[in-house]
């Protein structure tokens, strides 16, 4: 078991966003986390990667009210729920955030190098850079471009590439298809499969269920902060209630 | 007959709305105290301190109106004050207009100043705006110093007409003016215009999309704030009988901001209360003049560390609580809300 989340609970100002979530992920798996808008998918990823705890520390309960986090998150046999976000990254759990969030005023290369912040060996950085460029050849031709001026698809690739520079063992990707044209989405999903084949486990949050279910080995369906069910894509699609109620297909 | 109805209504309002809420009781008592004080204690020095406090309260409230409510962070509010002071001095000295005319006129000149600085500031936001507004009073200071023939240079213009003949007369005029203008500002912030100001601060783009001409409202905020600050400046000039470059100084702007934050931004009443607390306190430190500013800064720092949302707001939070269901205010000792009877839980 590479990642295990036990009874994760996140409360924003008395509103329960995540209600005792349990999920787990084996090494090398590609697991989907699907559900309707506002189900708590992104919050779950943010809680796992330590961003919620960071926000709690920074806002001190003054901006956006109180935040409570509860539960156990174990990654590679180590508890990470009390670790600061930047330490979690060094353990190999990397989040590629929603809406890709590139450092908009920096060049593509600087963005990628920012991803490699924790790696000290220059050779290793060069190696990883080559891997990313090989995966996303488009980025290579835009090395010196300011990333804010890239197109949406290129920004998404930059986001994933930047996350890869951090040498993840588990990569969490939050809604990679958001705001992208169908043809670009297909390309992004293809790349995600390719990354998975390199032995990096992936936890994928998506709304585009039809594509995701073709890729993933297992899926969790989340709604109103609770895990409704889990299982392989076929099993979920064969269950009429689940399919109609939560997947809308 | 109808008088009785009004009296009854007044009585009911007092009983139902005012006595119940400690903040309202304190406000009423404070106003009564201000009005009665000269009768009980006609001390000339005390009057002087309170008159200056009233002037600065007006000025600080006008800053809060512009920067707190409309979100147009103004670091150079002394501009309006200085423009008011200088223009009423010039009206009075050159055109021989008495204070009753020169003070309103100075308010109008400050409105003009508001329009002039509002125009370039319309396109700026946040810190850019804050750092730009700081420039305006300094530009004007330079002009004032460069034209000693008209403005008196570094010494300023002196020998203005007195506000009224007597200290008590001055006191009542200034205090009533302060109460009136702060009430107007407070009521404005509670009105529809106030809602639009709030919205400009929170999200201007959404407001524009909703079909509201934000430019107009931003200019309105600059003008109204300028009007009250200009009047404060005019009154100050006539009371001190001098209009000097110190009215335009950076430290005047900073002091106003300190008062407002001390009281709690975005409240109007907070600014007024803060000035009436801090200004007399500063006078106490006058005994040790070399430590005065040091004490002032230290107090502000300590207050900020422990009550970052402002001293007045901190006190209000202690004596009042808001029902989380119906949003009505209750005094802190109540167990259930006085409107919807929802119990206040303690977590």
């Amino acid at each position: 078991m590479q990642l295990e989340v036990i009874n994760l609970r996140v409360v924003f100002n008395k509103a329960m966003i995540l209600n005792d979530i349990n999920l787990s992920l084996n090494k090398g798996e590609l697991v989907g986390l699907v559900g309707p808008n506002g189900a708590g998918k992104s919050t779950a990823l943010k809680a796992i990667s330590g961003l919620i705890a960071w926000r709690k520390k920074v806002s001190k309960g003054i901006i956006g009210g109180d935040i409570t986090i509860d539960g156990l998150i174990v990654f590679n046999g180590e508890r990470i729920d009390e670790m600061p976000a930047h330490k979690i990254v060094s353990n190999g759990l990397v989040l590629c955030p929603e809406r890709r969030k590139p450092f908009r005023e920096m060049t593509v290369l600087d963005n990628l190098l920012a991803g490699a912040f924790l790696e000290r060996k220059k050779v290793k950085i060069k190696e990883n850079l080559d891997i990313v460029y090989q995966l996303f050849p488009k980025l290579k031709s835009r090395t010196r471009q300011i990333s804010g001026t890239l197109s949406g698809g290129e920004q998404q690739m930059l986001g994933i590439g930047r996350a890869l520079m951090s040498q993840p063992r588990l990569l969490c990707i939050d809604e990679p298809s958001i705001g992208l044209a169908p043809i670009v989405r297909a390309e992004v999903f293809e790349k995600i499969m390719e990354i998975n084949k390199r032995g990096i486990s992936i936890l994928l949050v998506e709304q585009e269920i039809s594509t995701v279910f073709k890729m993933t080995s297992r899926n969790y369906v989340i709604s109103s902060g609770q895990i409704i069910t889990e299982g392989t894509s076929e099993k979920l699609l064969n269950d009429n209630v689940i399919r109609k109620t939560y997947l809308g297909m | 007959m109808s008088i009785l109805v009004y009296l009854r209504r007044l009585f009911v309002t007092i009983k139902e709305e005012i006595i119940i809420l400690p903040t309202k009781v304190i406000t009423i008592l404070f106003i009564l105290f201000l009005l009665v004080l000269p009768v009980i204690l006609p001390d000339s020095y005390l009057m002087r301190v309170l008159i200056l406090a009233a002037i600065f309260a007006m000025l600080t409230a006008s800053w809060d109106f512009l920067s707190g409510f409309a979100g147009q962070l103004n670091f150079g509010h002394a501009l309006f004050f200085g423009v008011g002071a200088y223009s009423s001095a010039l009206f009075n000295l050159l055109l021989k207009i008495p204070p009753a005319g020169s003070i309103p006129l100075s308010g109008l000149v400050a409105v003009l100043a508001g329009l002039i600085i509002g125009f370039p500031c319309l396109r700026l936001k946040g810190i850019y705006l804050a750092l730009t507004t700081i420039a305006f009073p300094i530009i004007l200071t330079g002009v004032v110093n460069a034209l000693p023939g008209i403005t008196g240079g570094e010494l300023g213009l002196s020998g203005l007409d007195k506000l009224t003949g007597s200290r008590i007369g001055d006191y009542y005029i200034v205090t009533l003016l302060m109460l009136g203008s702060c009430t107007v500002m407070y009521k404005l912030t509670q009105s529809n215009v106030g809602i639009i100001f709030h919205a400009i601060r929170e999200d201007e783009v959404s407001l524009k999309v909703s079909g509201i001409n934000t430019t107009k409202y931003k200019l309105l905020a600059f003008c109204l704030s300028g009007l009250f600050a200009g009047i404060a400046g005019g009154v100050y000039a006539h009371f001190m009988r001098i209009a000097g470059p110190s009215t335009l100084s950076v430290s005047t702007s900073f002091t106003i901001i300190i008062y407002a934050v001390f009281g709690g931004v975005c409240t109007i009443y907070g600014s007024v209360a803060a000035v009436y607390i801090l200004f007399p306190l500063m006078e106490v430190f006058q005994l040790l003049p070399q430590f005065r500013t040091l004490f002032f800064a230290a107090i502000v720092l300590i207050i900020l560390l422990y009550m970052p949302s402002g001293f007045i707001q901190w006190i209000i939070d202690k004596i009042e609580k808001t029902c989380s269901r119906c949003g009505h205010k209750n005094h802190a000792l109540r167990k259930i809300c006085r409107f919807c009877e929802r119990p206040f839980k303690y977590y």
Binding site: L51, P97, G115 | A135
Partner: protein, 288 residues
């Protein structure tokens, strides 16, 4: 005349750019509008005065001590005061104003409100086109250029610089890259205050020291930051030299020049902003 203007521009411009870069770094990384920034510059000057006069230190030693002392003081005031109220932007501004006032008052209490001066480090002068240029001026300018280059190198070529730039743009995402955001904020503040102290230390032999000497550079520094575009280092440097040049021209050419220098410089700032609200080199990227 022309040489005078050039010298004055170069020296003032380089001081303003060092101050402006430090100020905008702290704003970028920690979102703190540090009004006390130039107060640290003033403190460094007083430290050197005290070091050389009261303790009899060698000027160079005093300079080093002053820079270290000011940096530590800056870090301490961040840790003890600013960090606790950083969530409230308004309170942070007031706190830095209050800090600046406290420093100013303590200096008045200790040294009085008189004008003081310290001896120059390098004696002697040379004459260029009939204008006297002291070696101290040349020395100051060279040091400032070295400092500017090292700032640029630090930000653009080192890992720390990359982290600072990344944090300045998006604190949350910087965390996801493994950057310790609060540590980087602390380091940035140290660097920024250290540079302010350095600028103060280098420049005081050319000027007079008094407790209010932080106000006018503060205003010009803020103008430079806005003029060049917040967060743009190139913008800060060019903006600083524009401001320095304007000031120099006004002082040397207009009769009431020294009164008007700030006014004209700031008027230029406002004109630029009316035309280009994000400053000369600010990147206008719509937020999400």
């Amino acid at each position: 005349m022309v040489v005078d203007i050039i010298i004055s521009t170069l020296i003032n411009g380089s001081i303003y750019s060092i101050l402006a870069i430090g100020f905008s770094l702290v704003f970028g990384v920690a979102r703190i509008i540090n009004i006390a920034h130039t107060a640290f510059y003033m403190l460094a000057a007083f430290c050197i005065y005290a070091g050389t006069n009261s303790f009899g230190l060698h000027p160079v030693l005093a300079m080093g001590a002053a820079i270290i002392f000011v940096t530590i003081l800056g870090l301490a005031s961040y840790k003890l005061i600013i960090e606790k109220i950083r969530v409230h932007p308004a309170a942070t501004i007031i706190a830095t104003i209050a800090l600046a006032m406290i420093f100013q008052e303590i200096m008045i209490l200790n040294f009085g409100a008189e004008f003081l001066s310290v001896p120059v480090l390098v004696e002697g002068f040379t004459v260029v086109f009939g204008v006297k240029i002291t070696y101290q001026q040349v020395f100051t300018f060279i040091f400032m250029v070295i400092l500017l280059i090292s700032v640029w190198f630090l930000l653009m070529k080192t890992k720390l610089g990359l982290a600072i730039r990344a944090t300045a743009q998006d604190r949350e995402t910087a965390n996801l890259m493994g950057m310790n955001e609060s540590m980087i904020a602390l380091v940035t503040i140290g660097i920024s205050v250290g540079f302010a102290g350095f600028a103060g230390a280098i420049v005081i032999p050319l000027t007079v020291i008094h407790p209010h000497m932080w106000l006018s550079p503060l205003i010009i520094m803020m103008a430079v930051v806005v003029l060049g575009g917040l967060g743009s280092i190139k913008g800060s440097i060019i903006g600083a030299f524009i401001m320095g040049l304007t000031e120099a021209i006004i002082v040397f050419l207009l009769p009431m020049g020294s009164f008007l220098k700030g006014s004209v410089a700031l008027t230029i700032l406002i004109i630029v902003l009316i035309i280009k609200p994000e400053g000369l080199f600010g990147v206008s990227i719509e937020g999400e």
